[in-house]
């Protein structure tokens, strides 16, 4: 075990690479809907329980199921209406369980990356062969369902091993969403490949907003606008583009009392003019083209 993950060097938030986003936008904004499947009766992982109650956890399961029966389309329509494509953190088994939802994302021009097989199967305790199996399964499953080759990874339920970053880089993936150390795209040290960290966010994740910070829908909307305003101002002042991610779960943001205030946020950001609204892969590509070999 390592006391430091040894994935990046300390780099102060000043003197960063001098580049902005296309159109000289100071902040890149990407929306990351988590399209997930939680099993109702998953096997136990020795290090983490899936549900807090004996199966079936009716509230736990049905709350998430609300996303796949109702709230996905509410969230997706609001995004499409205001010009925000999704970069999907996908439980890849959703391609089998609810192909209509995956197809809906494809038709909206969304990008798909892997969030594991299920959000109830954790990486803790896997050996290298097992971890390779879930990466290969992810690549194969998403390719068959969408025609896309996944470029990114958000570990299932944020469960990792020390080898995860090296393995996804070896398989040619370009970005990880699992590191929360910065507001900019930055390289990750891996044995092979060329992996970068793209800012995802726990702090402005709807799950944190509603279930860690217990925000009202309008307080969460205000939080997103403050996050945007600050990151746009900093990118403009420094000349070094920042990234704002809005990580979502349909079963939370697509609730009827939350979707209206959230749509106001999308309207605000789209009208502001300082945001480059993009997919994760486009953000990574522009970063790489801008910093070139310096990455």
């Amino acid at each position: 075990m390592r006391a430091d993950p040894e994935l990046y060097d300390f780099q102060p938030y000043r003197g960063r690479p001098n580049y902005l986003w296309p159109g000289d936008k100071p902040v890149a904004v990407w929306v990351a809907p988590n399209l997930e499947y939680y099993e109702i009766d998953p096997p136990a992982n020795p290090q983490r329980k899936s549900w807090g109650k004996p199966h079936p956890d009716v509230v736990g399961f049905s709350h998430r199921d609300y996303g796949n029966r109702v709230a996905h389309w509410r969230m997706a329509e609001a995004m499409s209406k205001h010009g925000f494509p999704g970069s999907v953190s996908l439980s890849v088994a959703l391609c089998q369980h609810h192909p209509d939802i995956v197809r809906d994302g494809v038709e909206r021009g969304w990008e798909f990356f892997s969030h594991g097989i299920y959000n109830t199967r954790y990486t803790y305790g896997m050996d290298e062969r097992q971890e390779r199996a879930i990466i290969e399964d992810s690549i194969r499953t998403v390719r068959e369902a969408t025609g896309q080759t996944i470029r990114g990874w958000l570990a299932p339920a944020l469960t990792h091993t020390e080898r995860t970053m090296d393995l996804i880089a070896e398989y040619g993936l370009d970005y990880t969403c699992d590191l929360y150390h910065d507001d900019q795209v930055l390289p990750v040290k891996t044995k092979t490949g060329r992996l970068v960290s793209i800012p995802y966010s726990l702090e402005v994740n709807d799950h944190y907003g509603f279930f860690v910070y217990n925000m009202s829908p309008r307080d969460y909307a205000d939080t997103l606008i403050r996050q945007f305003e600050r990151l746009a101002a900093e990118g403009a002042a420094s000349g070094s583009g920042t990234v704002m991610c809005i990580p979502l779960h349909a079963y939370l943001i697509g609730q009827p009392h939350r979707i209206g205030p959230f749509e106001d946020v999308l309207r605000h950001i789209a009208a502001d003019g300082r945001a480059w609204i993009a997919r994760a892969g486009e953000i990574v590509d522009h970063h790489q083209a801008s910093v070139g070999g310096a990455a």
């Binding site: 709350h63 109702v70 088994a93 089998q96 192909p99 896997m126 199996a133 009202s216 829908p217 609730q255």
Partner: protein, 300 residues
């Protein structure tokens, strides 16, 4: 280190759910439902009426709102009774003022201990939904099938003594075992309201209907768990109503209410104003659960 190889087997990875309890569909692909009078939003108030014995049971789990301090917990026992004695009557008056009907999810013990209260609810035109025996009557997998069967039967018997034959069931904390839906069906229930996964009723494989009673919109979640103000609660219910009314097809807006939470003096005025606001919305239909069920079934 490695995991048991079965951890990477996915025997239920297939189209549809990893269970056979009910089929999947998107609400936006279903035939549109219209409520009576051409209304689009069924505003479904569900009041939980609960008796917490001062001798709490943790089998299979302790109910939310149950006793906290060492015995005797007069503090929580009486604070819950406050809801039953005072808060419930504030709510009954509020419904009357707004011209609203509602459903009351009632513990069997409430009917046996306070039959007057059940009469007052029924005479005001509200529905009684079965809500277990008392707040020690929690259900989860691990509870013996016979014990669960007896619990459901006793809940029905207690309501029956008060002259009520409920069509709906609500479990404490929405918690069910694998057996619950079949036991409810066998006991003759037409609907249950534990699974919070839709904005419309839907039918289970065993024939029972689930009318989702969204826990996210409950007074407990917003006021007690998330500790938001009652004014914010009102605003959230109005935002939810406006959104659902704008979807262009019938929807249910469930308001799960707790007399000892929303029925307090400093909250009830705001709640009364909310009911008045609903009453003024042309798309709003105040409905009991059984009326929602019947209107929905007639259109399937």
């Amino acid at each position: 280190m490695s995991l048991d190889p079965s951890y990477l087997d996915y025997p239920r990875r297939r189209e549809g759910y990893d269970h056979d309890l009910y089929p999947w569909s998107s609400i936006f692909d279903r035939k549109a439902v219209a409520w009576p009078g051409g209304k689009s939003v069924a505003v479904w108030c569900v009041v939980s009426l609960e008796w917490f014995p001062m001798t709490p049971s943790d089998m299979p789990f302790r109910a939310p709102g149950h006793m906290v301090t060492p015995y005797p917990d007069y503090r929580h026992y009486t604070a819950r009774e406050y809801g039953t004695r005072v808060g419930t009557y504030r709510l009954l008056d509020a419904f009357a003022k707004a011209g609203a009907v509602a459903s009351f999810a009632v513990n069997g013990a409430i009917a046996r201990r306070y039959p007057q209260l059940v009469r007052d609810i029924v005479e005001a035109g509200h529905e009684i939904v079965a809500h277990s025996t008392d707040m020690n009557g929690t259900i989860a997998t691990g509870l013996a099938r016979e014990a669960e069967e007896a619990l459901i039967a006793d809940s029905l018997a207690a309501l029956g003594e008060a002259g009520v034959r409920p069509r709906g069931w609500h479990s404490i904390a929405r918690s069910q075992s694998w057996n619950t839906p079949d036991l409810l069906k066998a006991a003759g229930f037409d609907y249950m309201c534990d699974w919070a996964n839709d904005d419309l009723p839907y039918r289970w494989s065993n024939g029972i209907v689930n009318i989702p009673l969204n826990h996210e919109l409950s007074d407990r979640q917003i006021l007690t768990v998330q500790q938001q103000s009652v004014d914010s609660y009102v605003e959230q219910m109005q935002d939810a109503f406006r959104w659902l009314a704008g979807e262009g097809a019938g929807r249910v807006l469930p308001l799960h209410l707790t007399p000892y939470i929303v029925g307090l003096p400093y909250r009830i005025d705001a709640f009364e104003r909310l009911l008045g606001w609903f009453a003024a919305q042309p798309q709003a239909w105040f409905a009991r659960g059984d009326a929602i069920l019947d209107a929905w079934e007639a259109q399937q």
